[in-house]
Symmetry: D2
Subunit: 377 residues, 4 copies
């Protein structure tokens, strides 16, 4: 139990009269003319096996800085069903009542829930969940598709003990190939809850499948994630023409997404590079010092994504920092050291770094360059 | 959005395989041969106007360090009733399924919910909520009492705009006097959610009514309270012969309670003094120094209640600290200054302080004494 | 001892190879065509009674988001003098070696240190401290003035036990009147370390004296202030034509300052209003709802100054929040409630609030207005 | 800049009148009849290349929960020497003035500072530093030894670019062998500042050399380490017969030490097992449930060392958690799952875990066992 010694009488009255909710905006810049929307395409309520009333999901989404959330209760798994209505549409209907109040888009979804294979799949942007409650899996998928659904394969690595297979990897079953071939598989979660699946990320890159990262939250978000310790819910970044359900849908089908999970970003180089370019600014790129002395530069991160830079290689004449940590919303000063006291005059240096937590592939980081000017007198 | 720069790949796998929940124990010592149980006698679920499934309340209680929790859904106010079963007993039945797993006692309650007067009253330790759902208020109370209920008047200050009255104070209506005279009013909340009611505390002291302080939580606890900022749920401390429902009930009827709200403790002097005595220890009570120099002592707080000490008065020869802050679970060093360089030899000093946040009455603090020995050479 | 369970092997290697320092920028907007520089005009080093080597003050200032810092060692009080050089200029000379590296302006100062009256006064922007080390107080001040000094009276409330006087107020002595009349008193600290002096603030307003708020730091900043708990060093905001020593000096003589202390801002209405206007934005100012329902609006704070709004008065038809807390760098949603179900149609509302922590005088808060449009159908 | 919205006027007055300092005790239990003293055997002040006045090191040590600290300024590297006295004993003399006030033992040391080999070595528990200031390295060591010194080789991995060698490992040079053979090498740092050296740990185990882990702090501790983020100064645990300088010295020569670095403990199995046994308690070791249901147990950590448990292997009939995180000072509940619904009756289970962060060797963790009783009905 943590205490603040300085709070006592101040709070005695009236805070519960507060008619407000605070939002933790997630500051990640817009890129390439698109809005960068923060979305979570997988969540549960008491209407399946979740623990919260649906409208709370919208208030949580507002608080967590999201622009959109999908409510995706299981069709086939409803442990509270004896106490609750059987209408599969109710959870979204209830959540929708808060949509306008909080300006959080509520996307109607359902989780089609079978043993692996095929496992669990979310049908997103559907109109009526009840017809999807049907025995045959492919029929259920097709009914969803006829409603215009975006089909997302959830946590392909999850259904143990059968999976992962003996080599510790998730399995792409024939039925997934069939879904993919028939254009019935539009996206896959590369991040679910606290897990990231590198092999799944590889599949998505190779087959140009839309990547998502979602919370799959059942408990209250603030019960499950220790957000004050950096353990935030995963976020799918959607690069959308506008903040609207239609905009998000179009972007998902066009594969314009990335994933923000813990401190890492996952996505195509073109998106991650633009996020980097629009977030990071060298605010002091020229330094003057006496011969032999260190030269100091400053760089600022305007986003909420911290960055860890690993040096690619030194310059012949100057030693660069082997590693730099640029926290979210901070400026750092770093120094460059001449390797000899004889180095003099003005010189333009290129500092090449890997952004260790910007993953353009399961084993590939974004490479960036800082250009600075040194002047040793 | 707060980030920890050092976490990235570490968390990528498997944390969601964790079959565990962490508990924040509330360390407040046992006193006078009783166990100091931490309880919350007021909470809601989706079965009235709350937002969570009942069993989550038990897991939250475990996490928050509680020994017992009452589920007290409204009888008369059930906004989700069209989607849910009408059985008033279900919320407690569901919560009870986790009682054994988490060793958190679940107390069956119902909130009898009328306009003020009489306002809202919890019937605690009841056996069947359904018969309490009856039109006449006094009948409802009597049915509860026949089941052995402890009747707690909730938030007497809450029902605005009628209350508070023009003089800014809560009102003790004739019906409350009637309840009290007929032994149908056993306890009153002096703290509800984030509010503390000094006038109500005064009523309880004058009439020897059991005091409680409860969360009245509707949202998830971690959604509503910002616990990482010291904004914890209120806790009723129950000084009980044993950790059991019967023990708690006996203690409540015997008025053996105190309230822990923000950083403050409220309760009878006999309880607060014992909590102080069993929490605070002078670990260095003798100091030697040269004439004219400061003398340094150390005191340790073994509890989770921070303490603010305000000096009653100085000694003739020594200047004492005007104020001391002794945080939860910490040791502090403090110094005493001789008022002249001529003061010499060994001397026993009494340092008299008010513990500002130990409120034995609405305008009365616990007074304590530290005895130290100085030796100036 | 606080722990993060998730950090262990990660940090084992190489962090001490980090050639970097992180800066906590203080985001308070530029106003009225001026740059809002963050400054601290009072600090000590080992060269008087401080505990740190002078160049650390510059690194701390960078880390704390400052643009400028004055090193102001005591002339007359040098407890370490037997171990150190007697040259009063050395501390600033040493600090100056880091000025260029960190882009933090180092202002040369000295604290002329006498018993009250006159107490302690900082001579800022001086050229040579050694001649100021002279017996006569007025002579010392005049030598400083001849060097172009800005003379700041430090902590007028500090020198106990003589002060405060019996009525608990600081004293403006004849010598202070003399200094003021002779234009030898240019500024006064209304905040020093953790203390704020309302009476001194009043003096400054009545006499148009420049206000400052400074740390007077002797220990390391991070040792003394618990910055992770919101206990930051006080900052003097200087509204300067440019980021330069000359710019700061001109602004100080022109009284263009404000003070940021804990969560509060102190300063002239014209400055605080502009800071508010450039920080706070109604990002949702129109709301539509059904008759009788609450209407939701959103407001964002782009600065690092949290704001507490206290309602001036309700509207005839709508109930406004009695209090709003708008944390630093956050968005909040708040709601407005129609007082009757009959209220319909579009209406423009003015919500008048006091910003409780923007103090334009010792008992005067900034008053602001939010204009929103409601539409009840 | 982090803010707490709830603090404003409260702190306006008087906190700087606080004559107190808070201590963060490091709770690690006493073992085997010894006191577990928390020590740091490597620190600097302005008298060599540090940035703080010596007595601050004692106040920091008190605040950080230490029992003893060595002041070990460089003999040969004194960049501030033109401004300061040349007497090598002054830094410890000044620090000693606070020893009695804070009950922190101040150990006199000097860092004999040469290029690698031999690198830097601390002479601890010496009586006079000045004679050690001599040109010949072996002579300096011998003079220290004649004063009874404990000789500690500091950061064997540090002096780049020569070291580490091409294979990325530190080098044990002939001179270190000579020192060791002549009993002139008593201890080695396996942790220095934020670095841990697995190869050096191996040397110490193989040769029964005393291990230490120290801060080597030059800046203020709170400037360098981000303690509120779990980044604490390294601590050498000394298992001493008493809290005294003589006790510490005896324990160091008898190799009775361990190291607490980030979240990890390093030391002999006999010490780490006792720390575990005296810290961790199964507070619920029996569970009853229906056949097929999970069984819940509780375990509590009374120390400030968090623990990460990795399962060795499952039971034939029950699935155990693959990983458990037991934070400092917390209780957790965890569950065990029967692999089939047919498992019934009472059974004693042994849960074998590796404590991942209790390192009894560079690649060896402490193995522990929890014994629980299940009862499935």
């Amino acid at each position: 139990m943590k205490n603040l010694v300085t709070i006592f009488f101040v709070l005695s009255f009236g805070l519960n009269a507060l008619a407000q909710q605070t939002r933790d905006d997630i500051n990640i810049p817009d890129i390439l003319g698109y809005k960068t929307l923060k979305c979570d395409f997988h969540s549960h309520t008491v209407f399946s096996d979740g623990n919260v009333w649906p409208d709370l999901r919208v208030r949580e989404a507002f608080r967590d800085g999201l622009d959109a959330i999908a409510i995706t209760d299981h069709i086939e798994y409803r442990p509270h069903k004896d106490d609750l209505t059987k209408n599969h549409n109710r959870s979204v209907e209830i959540a929708k009542t808060k949509e306008n109040q909080y300006d959080v888009i509520v996307i109607k979804g359902s989780e089609i829930t079978r043993k692996m294979p095929p496992g669990h799949l979310n049908a997103l942007f559907i109109k009526d969940s009840n017809p999807i409650d049907t025995a045959d899996f492919m029929t259920a998928i097709k009914i969803a598709k006829e409603q215009g659904a975006f089909i997302q394969w959830n946590h392909p690595f999850w259904l143990k003990p059968v999976f992962p297979t003996k080599d510790g990897k998730p399995t792409w079953f024939p039925i997934h190939q069939e879904l993919f071939d028939k254009h019935l598989l539009d996206g896959i979660e590369i991040v679910n809850e606290r897990e990231y699946y590198p092999d799944v990320y590889k599949w998505c890159i190779e087959n140009n499948i839309t990547i998502t990262g979602n919370s799959d939250i059942h408990d209250p978000v603030s019960y499950f994630f220790e957000q004050d310790k950096g353990d935030h819910r995963p976020v799918t970044l959607v690069f959308s023409k506008e903040k609207s359900e239609e905009g998000i849908k179009e972007a998902l089908f066009a594969h314009r997404t990335a994933v923000f999970h813990h401190d890492s970003l996952f996505g195509k180089e073109e998106y991650l590079r633009e996020i980097f370019n629009n977030s990071v600014k060298l605010i002091k790129d020229k330094a003057i010092a006496n011969k032999g002395a260190d030269l100091y530069f400053q760089v600022k991160n305007n986003s909420d994504v911290p960055m860890t830079f690993i040096l690619e290689k030194d310059d012949d004449d100057f030693k660069f920092p082997a590693r730099l940590l640029l926290p979210a919303q901070k400026t750092i000063v770093f120094s460059v050291r001449p390797k000899s006291k004889d180095i003099a005059g003005q010189k333009e240096l290129k500092l090449n770094y890997f952004v260790k937590n910007f993953l353009t592939g399961p084993e590939k980081c974004l490479k960036v360059e800082f250009n600075v000017t040194t002047d040793l007198k």
